[in-house]
């Protein structure tokens, strides 16, 4: 091959890299290993994560849900996972069809008119929605609910600082819900999370009517929408969320699945890739990327976002999940989450010194004030095989000495009873 190119050694291939650069190179100092050795290495690393054998009651944006077996099988089809962005639609109809289905499902679930084909995660989706709302309203003042998950608020703070936006906090009341009387004057947008950092479902009915020109962004938990009214039906202008609850593993926090839905009128301002339906030269239905002129590869510095790679394979997982469970299954699993969480809450509150921090309705996550040091209780439960947390987040939001419990369909009644017994036995 070298002969064909007219070179005499492999090093000649790199003569265009300055000698001064090549001479400074230092290798990593690691040998190559066989597949079998690396497999062994990873088996050891995996077994060093005791969490995977414990029952998780952790929440805060990511949850221990059950993922139907078929999802893994569809995701393992190499035609799906070894392909790239569908720039050549004629040989990407698989990817594009899934995008179209996903967009339809998310729009339907959230009650909105259109949705994109995914973003990175719930936090960055929310940040992008904030930027979009600011652009639409040409206003840099942003009202944000104080009861956002701290992890999301951190990301909003970073993006807002970079874009010179002013974040104004709107407090929550004693029930743990947004207190609109604390709204600043004339912000571009109000950002609310529901369920919020406390697991509380916000009362959104009528909020949009009180906002005048101010836009409304709601960050949601998609599984909860099997049970509760979606933000689209309540006047939201943009709905974002974390799609991990739709069939994705927890995966130590990534990859996740950013959801983004809005009104048709805002299509040109919406970030992210979308697939549109069209026809081919013989009139057969097909799909292609639509509205590409919003995107970076065409608009460059005037694009609605810089996003290129998104979370496509995770969107496929969510699509297969929803196709597998259907409306009936989603309603059923949402009900399981809701009822199991309420069961645990009820039993915990029968213990001395335990009570719900907030009175308002919740989905599958709630905050309980605990007697004594939450960290001590957390450790005790950990040793007994249960993972709980949230106390630092809660303290930062002004709720000390508390724990947050998230209960999904994966937790059995036996497990929940055991948690109650363990906590009840502490003196």
């Amino acid at each position: 091959m070298l002969e064909a190119i007219g070179l005499s050694s492999l090093d000649d291939l790199f003569r265009d890299i300055p000698e001064a650069v090549r001479s400074r190179f230092e290798p990593l100092g690691i040998p190559g290993r066989s597949e079998q050795e690396v497999a062994g290495e990873f088996a050891a690393l995996a077994s060093a994560n005791a969490a995977s054998t414990k029952a998780s009651l952790l929440g805060g944006g990511v949850y221990d849900h059950y993922s139907p077996s078929i999802i893994g099988h569809m995701l393992s089809r190499t035609e799906f996972y070894t392909a790239y962005t569908p720039y050549q639609p004629e040989i990407s109809q698989g990817t594009l069809s899934v995008m179209f289905e996903f967009q339809t499902l998310i729009a339907e679930l959230t009650g909105m008119e259109i949705a994109n084909a995914s973003m990175y995660d719930g936090a960055t989706s929310l940040a992008e929605a904030m930027l979009m709302a600011s652009r639409i309203r040409r206003n840099t003042k942003i009202a944000v609910s104080k009861s956002l998950l701290p992890a999301y608020r951190r990301v909003l703070d970073t993006y807002a600082w970079a874009a010179d936006l002013e974040l104004c906090e709107v407090p929550f009341d004693t029930a743990g819900r947004l207190d609109l009387s604390g709204m600043p004057e004339d912000p571009a947008v109000l950002i609310v999370q529901s369920p919020n950092a406390f697991g509380v479902i916000e009362s959104l009915a009528g909020v949009k009517d009180q906002l005048g020109d101010t836009l409304l962004i709601v960050s949601t938990y998609p599984m909860s929408l099997g049970l509760i009214e979606p933000p689209g039906a309540l006047g939201a202008d943009i709905v974002t969320g974390e799609g991990q609850s739709l069939g994705l593993p927890m995966g130590f926090g990534g990859p996740l699945l950013g959801l983004f839905a809005t009104k048709k009128a805002y299509l040109r301002q919406m970030p992210g890739r979308v697939a549109g339906r069209t026809v081919d030269s013989e009139g057969a239905t097909g799909y292609a990327m639509a509205a590409q002129t919003r995107e970076q590869h065409i608009r460059r510095e005037r694009a609605t976002s810089n996003i290129c790679t998104n979370s496509a394979l995770c969107a496929l997982a969510a699509t297969v999940y929803l196709a597998t469970v259907g409306a009936d299954g989603l309603r059923h699993v949402a009900r399981l989450n809701h009822d199991k969480a309420h069961y645990l809450a009820e039993k915990l509150c029968e213990l001395d010194g335990y009570d719900l921090a907030f009175d308002a309705p919740f989905f599958n996550e709630f905050v309980v004030r605990v007697p004594g040091d939450p960290e001590g209780l957390r450790q005790m439960l950990d040793q007994a095989g249960f993972l709980v947390g949230g106390s630092e987040d809660l303290a930062s939001l002004g709720v000390p000495n508390a724990l947050r419990f998230a209960v999904t369909e994966s937790r059995t009644r036996e497990e929940l009873d055991r948690v109650v017994r363990l906590l009840g036995g502490v003196r």
Binding site: R268, Q292, T293, I298, R299, R302
Partner: protein, 127 residues
């Protein structure tokens, strides 16, 4: 393609039809050919002020975005609303039905530097 002799033309492939201080603006046949099938046109709002050389509109095809700069300073008094539902009009009739907007020019002498039809055609053949 013959370029209407009564129009003036800019280096950015826009045409002007000047009627007193009313100037109608569009993009030329050459421009629409370069862009390909036009899918969307974003027009300025009626009443907005234009400065010569500022981007006031965009014409989008599937794979490209063309900026349209205001060739004259003034105020936008009319826009071609029909393009919202039929952007392809710009491809089909770039010099007539595909007009974009009308400016009430504040400094009519700004038009003097632009090509006439022969000058524009010469400019294109230099390309």
């Amino acid at each position: 393609m013959s370029y209407p002799s009564e129009y003036r033309y800019t280096k950015d492939h826009e045409w002007l039809r000047i009627e007193g201080s009313r100037v109608t603006v569009g993009i030329t046949h050459h421009a629409q050919e370069e862009l390909g099938d036009i899918v969307f046109v974003e027009l300025p709002s009626v009443g907005s002020k234009t400065g010569k050389g500022e981007v006031v509109a965009t014409v989008e095809s599937v794979k490209a975005v063309g900026d349209v700069t205001a060739p004259m300073s003034g105020e936008v008094v009319e826009v071609n609303d029909g393009l919202e539902d039929a952007p392809e009009t710009v491809n089909q009739s770039p010099h007539e039905d595909g007009w974009l907007f009308v400016v009430e020019a504040s400094s009519p002498e700004e038009a003097e530097e632009y090509f006439d039809a022969a000058g524009y055609e010469a400019f294109l053949s230099e390309g």
